[in-house]
Symmetry: C2
Subunit: 152 residues, 2 copies
């Protein structure tokens, strides 16, 4: 399958919105994500249902960030996007009555559950505002290097 990149994309978009502070149309966001407006609406709809963003139709409409970057963690976005499990264990379902298959599946599910718990803990620690700061300071570094050619 194509890898699910909705979480990464939405974090990317929300930080841009938080930094720019204004209203963005699906068209503009689509350019950010190198895709088209329908994909944007489809994914943003999930965030809208959870009150992370709002939308307005008609001329001058678009998407607005309803919560501050400091008030949003990656976990919030993850939960808004995906109601189900983050890491599903890839168990087998060939002979559901076979005790060996059941024991193997049970062991895997337990391991995946622990890993999922770790992942969600990490997500909860990741505030979008922190990621935004990292992006800005990386950007400043880059700019300084570019100027350096003129300075030297």
């Amino acid at each position: 399958m194509k890898r699910d990149s909705r979480l990464a994309r939405m974090i990317h978009v929300l930080i841009h919105m938080g930094l720019l502070g204004g209203r963005e149309t699906s068209e503009t966001i689509a350019k950010m994500l190198n895709t088209n407006p329908v994909v944007v609406r489809r994914t943003m709809a999930a965030l809208k249902r959870k009150g992370v963003v709002g939308s307005e139709g008609g001329r001058g409409g678009g998407w607005v960030l309803l919560r501050s970057l400091d008030d949003l963690t990656v976990l919030d976005i993850q939960k808004a996007l995906d109601e189900g499990e983050v890491l599903s264990a890839g168990v087998s379902d060939d002979h559901p009555a076979c005790p060996v298959e059941r024991a193997a599946n049970a062991a895997l599910v337990q391991a995946f559950d622990k890993a999922e718990s770790t992942l969600l803990d990490e997500f909860a620690k990741l505030r979008l505002s922190i990621i935004a700061e990292h992006a800005l300071s990386a950007d400043r570094q880059l700019t300084r290097h570019q100027d350096g050619r003129n300075d030297g």
Copy 2:
């Protein structure tokens, strides 16, 4: 994509082989997994390369377990099956030069790496012999319940 169940299937098969102790043909294993021999050979080939199982062609041939269940962990099987990452982070690749995208991806990769590390730790703790014991005791439980109808 269809969910990857190779790890679960191979654990299932190896435990059966360990318990039965003999030689199994791809045909027999395919029945265990409710699939066909080619899928079995394809997946077992990876385990053969790592010395977990051996195969012999010709009449009377088949697959043999080369290491004991007590000497194998789920991590061993995982590593034999998948050279790459277990949990890949699902980053975005829309504007690789965008500092915001890079920061978002970096944050996600870091979180996934921690979760992967947890998962591999859990896998390393899971000896196939332990899973086999769980399967056997669950089976005994089941048998006892079935006998109970005659006993009562």
